[in-house]
């Protein structure tokens, strides 16, 4: 089978996903357009060699609707022949898009393919697309639907993570992100976002709160206690599925959960010949990819299972992996992953994650893939496993290996 190589990886800085966020004035099509243009301009490729652009987007309605990937291709002045497709694997959409792009290259369907994602959470709020899963009564009943935060708190309860544990994790995420920015560890991949008159509106991750300490985190009220215990009382639904738990300990809040932000990402993947044609050095090869489903009510334990699956596919063990990157959807998700796979904290999310910098749903997967690739290069290490927990109990993972 043809090998798929990563030739470039870019991302926008992440803007606060609110009306006062720096990227609120930037349309999602602009975010996607600018990362596609950056890939083209940085590598100097003829976009006629890009067979397809796969973009993740989790709320593909309104101005993110109607196949934003193809429209971004047109808007970025790519060759008319470049196709585009928007996909949705919830929080792992960006990584899934990359995996699909890689698969197209491996299968010989594409010479170059771009995987990435876009999400303007400030302009198209989460849940704008509705969901049979959550609101069709028959389905919600059957799947014991509860919002992710309930699952995150259930993970903390079931696997023994206290409020202190999750807050300490969050504090470290902030510290690592601050250090990474201070040392310029992200500069290779960051594409500042420009407005319609060409001025830069955002060049750094806006959501970070450097200097966050246990005291400031400790003052935050649990975010999911009210919907869990009072109205509508999701905890009781969780206990129907997990009756061995007496009571859910609500430990998550805005400070130890991923931030709501705007952003976009793109990764250029191609075969060996394309690299040679343009004199591009392959930065890494895609070694293995996998997605998996697991119990949907607790929802966020998929990474553990997909990590095992993708390691097996690659014929590797966790000890063959130098760096782990797991999206910080909620602190307990990462803590459980570390506990289940016995991964030391200094090998995972070494430059912080979504708790500090935010999680622009459709874009994150390709963002953290780029982040960990930069870190492998910076430290001279060889392999990384990228993971995200995914709505409805799924998990997606990718192993990359530097050449």
């Amino acid at each position: 089978m043809t090998e798929a190589y990563i030739y470039d990886a870019v991302r926008t800085p992440r803007g606060k996903g609110r009306k006062d966020g720096k990227l609120h004035e930037i349309t999602p099509i602009q975010l996607a357009t600018q990362v596609l243009q950056a890939v083209r301009d940085r590598t100097g490729i003829d976009t006629a060699d890009v067979d397809d652009v796969v973009l993740g987007c989790v709320s593909p309605v309104g101005e993110q609707g109607s196949d934003i990937a193809r429209v971004a291709v047109l808007n970025a002045d790519y060759a008319e022949t470049t196709a585009g497709v928007q996909i949705n694997r919830f929080c792992a959409s960006g990584l899934e898009a990359t995996n699909m792009a890689a698969a197209k290259v491996m299968a010989g369907e594409a010479m170059f393919a771009i995987g990435g994602g876009v999400e303007s959470m400030s302009r198209v709020p989460m849940g704008s697309d509705g969901a049979a899963w959550a609101m069709d009564p028959a389905v919600a009943y059957k799947t014991y639907f509860a919002p992710q935060g309930i699952g995150a708190d259930l993970i903390a309860t079931k696997y023994g993570f206290s409020r202190n544990d999750v807050d300490a994790y969050a504090m470290e995420s902030q510290a690592r992100a601050a250090r990474a920015w201070a040392e310029g560890r992200f500069k290779k991949s960051i594409v500042p976002v420009k407005d319609v008159i060409g001025e830069v509106v955002l060049a750094h991750d806006e959501h970070m709160r450097p200097g966050t300490d246990m005291q400031s985190l400790g003052g935050l009220a649990p975010a999911f206690q009210a919907i869990g215990e009072a109205m509508p009382g999701f905890d009781a639904i969780a206990l129907m599925r997990y009756p061995e738990v007496e009571k859910i300990n609500h430990v998550h809040h805005g400070g130890n959960s991923s931030g709501i932000v705007d952003g976009a990402s793109a990764i250029l993947i191609g075969n060996k010949e394309m690299g040679e044609k343009y004199g591009l050095k392959p930065r890494a090869r895609i070694r293995a990819m996998a997605s998996i489903g697991s119990e949907p009510m607790i929802m966020l334990t998929g990474p553990e299972f997909v990590a095992q699956k993708v390691l097996q596919r690659a014929g590797m063990t966790k000890d063959d992996i130098d760096l782990f990157e797991l999206n910080e959807a909620f602190a307990s998700v990462v803590l459980r992953y570390m506990q289940a796979l016995n991964i030391p904290h200094d090998r995972i999310n070494v430059n912080g994650g979504a708790i500090a910098m935010g999680h622009p749903l459709g874009a994150t997967g390709a963002m953290i893939l780029g982040t960990v690739l930069d870190e492998l290069e910076r430290t001279g290490k060889g392999t990384a496993l990228v993971n995200l927990c995914v709505g409805a109990g799924m998990g997606t993972g990718t192993i990359i290996e530097r050449i």
Binding site: V61, G127, S128, D129, G130, A131, A134, M135, D136, P137, A138, A140, Y141, Y144, F145, A146, M231, P232, G233, F234, A236, I237, L239, M240, P243, E244, V245, E246, K247
Partner: protein, 729 residues
């Protein structure tokens, strides 16, 4: 066929349709009503002289109640041959869609139709009203309008789930549909469910006036092009719509658990139906209705919660040839918690009460219980005083003179009971009926203290008396028909639901309920995660977990009962597997809620109780390495009760499955959605019940062994209710 809807055309061409079902005190939906309405609709459509119609009732009792639940048996199970090429579900759909379509024909007949609602309109009755274009209700605040079908496991199947949301908005409509709550005329007016509230004498005139003034009024808002759904568009992309269903489904799931069919069917019918035009919407509704009706659950619930309950309250078990024997004055012996409660419900029913205890202080305290409860209910002072005036506290047996019924609720020892029994007989003589509220001591033995044991009976109340709906009547070996009739007439007076059982230790309810608790203790003793035991108990439909309920009753009491039973039975005593757990808790002085430490810890200051963290370590040496699944726990908690209920039937403690089902649901809160343990065993199939019990007996011991009765029934392919029907016939 007799006429159920009378028609009268006035000079303005308005056809007055008066529903007056012959032979019924209240209008219900009968085939005649449907046929007459169909004829009226045809006339509205075809007769140019008819300009519109007004629908009203000829009954003073109200407009119309819904379907005749007793007559609905035909829907459940059916048995008629299926039309060629039809599946069972499709045939069922055709059956239930008829009325739905008829009301749709009424609202699309092209001419204005108004309802003049003189009194209650419930269930199908309200659905008739909703299908009219204009609705006038009499201004009596006592009139109830509602769709209470969910109370018996059904849901409105004649457009109610579709028209109510289109009138009042989805969120409030779901509240009424899912809670079965009724509304007053003013509330209905506020919600836009009716358009006018008028004096009762004027409603027909007001309805006619509207018809006359609105010759083009024969179109429902939802059939117009610019219909705006109250509360915003009914589409998945309207965040409000989405939020209502996310939240509403979760709340319903939490409240109704996984067990009830009707609530989820209502949610789905509203969710799917509100997104499409009415013609399609009512078909969707009828499909969900057919699904609900096809499941045994609704039939079981209707039979127990409605048919059997009403029959019991109307004297199904009363000896027919004994003349009515209402109680005028009751002698209440013992003014403790039970005595005080019995005094209260008796006085509230207009019965004079002599409340006797050993000290005046105790007797007065018993009376104060009523004053306290009535004050909490915010009853007007004069009404409360009239009730209190009927309770006479005393310490003097001579004050019992004139009482025509005695109820005894003194300490649970034979000696004390015998003493008060004899002291009472000394004043009243042995011809008065004597009822004992004992919960544990066999009646036959207690009856020896009364010279005429045929006049001695058990009248077992549940605590708190004023809230618990059941009274268990216990027939001793020598109890006669007059005593049974007297006790049942009294229970009817205080408006509770009676069951009649024969004498046995723990009678029926205490004996069977105890097995639920004991099996919980057995699981705990094996090192099962306590939360799993408790959550599964609740999730299977019991009101509380077995450990929590034991804490409420008192672990010291459980210990004492076990010791007493051991002493009484000697070598025959078979200790349950949870006994060691109770002994350990007793040793540690953990008595339950009463001393704030039992299986749970009760924090000072009223904080939420939580399971004692050292519980499993203390009573089982730690969590078992291999934990049972939730399904295993549920099976044990359920079948332990079922087998005991079957034994009660086999031993003759129970004579009818109806008594068994009512006693279980209303006595100890046995999962109401099953219709009770006997309905449940019939539904599962007796052969399957036997197979499960045999397996459980092998795994967990003889306490699960099925009685021979069940094996015989299984061999015959029989069921409890089929057998009861044969006996009745």
């Amino acid at each position: 066929m007799t006429t159920a809807i009378h028609t009268e055309l006035d000079a303005d061409g308005i056809l007055l349709l008066t529903i007056d079902v012959p032979g019924q005190s209240m209008n219900v939906i009968t085939p005649e009503v449907q046929a007459d309405l169909a004829a009226a609709i045809e006339r509205l459509k075809t007769d140019d002289a008819v300009k519109g119609a007004v629908l009203t009732s000829g009954k003073a009792s109200g407009f119309m109640a819904g379907a005749d639940l007793k007559g609905m048996g035909a829907l459940f199970g059916g048995g008629a041959a299926l039309p060629e090429g039809k599946s069972k579900m499709a045939a069922l759909f055709d059956g239930v869609f008829g009325l739905n379509k008829l009301l749709r024909d009424l609202e699309t007949c092209g001419k204005p139709v108004a309802a003049a609602v003189n009194g209650l309109a419930l269930g199908g009755g309200l659905e008739f009203v909703l299908a009219c274009h204009y609705r006038v209700v009499a201004d009596n605040p006592k009139i109830t309008l509602g769709l209470p079908e969910i109370m018996v496991g059904l849901f409105p199947g004649a457009g109610g789930t579709q028209r109510l949301p289109r009138l009042m908005g989805i969120q409030p409509a779901l509240m009424y549909l899912l809670q079965g709550k009724n509304m007053s005329p003013q509330e209905a007016l506020g919600f836009g469910v009716v358009q006018e509230v008028a004096p009762a004498a004027d409603i027909v005139a007001r309805a006619k006036a509207w018809v006359k003034a609105n010759p083009n009024g024969g179109v429902q808002p939802w059939d117009t092009k610019n219909f705006k759904f109250p509360g915003g568009p009914a589409t998945a992309l309207n965040p409000n719509f989405a939020q209502i269903f996310v939240g509403g489904t979760a709340m319903t799931h939490v409240n109704a658990g996984d067990n009830m069919n009707a609530p989820r069917a209502i949610l789905s019918a509203v969710y799917e139906g509100c997104q499409v035009p009415m013609d399609l919407a009512i078909r969707i509704e009828s499909k969900y209705f057919a699904k609900v009706v096809a499941d045994p659950q609704a039939g079981n619930m209707i039979r127990s919660l409605f048919v059997s309950k009403q029959a019991a309250e109307k004297g199904a078990r009363r000896p027919k040839d004994v003349p009515p024997a209402p109680t005028k004055k009751v002698a209440m012996l013992g003014a403790g918690l039970m005595g005080a409660g019995i005094a209260m419900v008796s006085a509230q029913a207009g019965i004079e009460v002599v409340l006797l205890d050993t000290t005046m202080e105790a007797a007065e305290k018993g009376k104060a219980y009523t004053a306290d409860r009535l004050a909490k209910k915010k009853m007007p002072a004069d009404k409360a005083q009239a009730i209190l005036d009927r309770i006479k506290p005393t310490t003097d047996y001579a004050d019992l003179a004139g009482c025509d019924l005695v109820i005894e609720a003194v300490f649970e020892t034979r000696e004390i009971k015998a003493r008060v029994t004899q002291a009472t007989e000394a004043v009243l003589g042995p011809n008065v009926i004597f009822g004992s509220n004992t919960s544990t001591l066999p009646i036959t033995g207690l009856a020896e203290a009364w010279s005429k044991p045929e006049n001695f009976i058990g009248i077992h109340f549940f605590s708190p008396v004023e809230k618990m709906p059941l009274v268990e009547i216990i027939v001793g070996k020598k109890t006669g028909p007059a005593a049974i009739a007297k006790a049942l007439d009294y229970v009817a007076q205080i408006r509770k639901t009676p069951i009649v059982v024969n004498d046995s230790r723990g009678f029926y309810t205490s004996r069977c309920f105890g097995t639920y608790v004991q099996e919980g203790l057995a699981l705990l003793g094996e090192g099962t995660t306590p939360a799993l035991i408790e959550n599964v108990g609740k999730q299977m439909g019991m009101p509380v977990g077995p450990l929590a309920v034991n804490d409420e009753v008192g672990l010291d009491l459980s210990y004492k009962v076990a010791q007493q039973t051991k002493a009484d039975l000697g070598d025959d005593y078979k200790g349950g597997p949870g006994e060691a757990v109770i002994e350990k808790m007793h040793e540690l002085g953990r008595q339950g809620r009463k001393n704030a430490k039992g299986f749970y810890v009760y924090p000072e200051g009223g904080g939420k109780k939580f399971l004692w963290p050292d519980l499993v370590q203390t009573v089982a040496g730690g969590l078992a390495a291999s934990q049972p699944s939730a399904a295993d726990v549920k099976e044990r908690l359920l079948y332990r009760q079922l087998v005991e209920c079957a034994r009660c039937f086999a031993e003759g403690v129970l004579e009818t499955p109806q008594d068994g089902d009512l006693g279980a649901i209303f006595g100890w809160g046995f999962a109401p959605f099953t219709g009770g343990p006997f309905s449940h065993m019939d539904t599962v199939g007796i052969a399957n019940v036997v197979a499960t019990l045999d397996r459980l007996a092998q795994q967990h011991g003889a306490r699960f062994a099925p009685p021979q009765l069940l094996r015989d029934m299984a061999a015959r392919g029989d069921s409890f209710y089929a057998q009861a029907a044969r006996r009745a016939a």
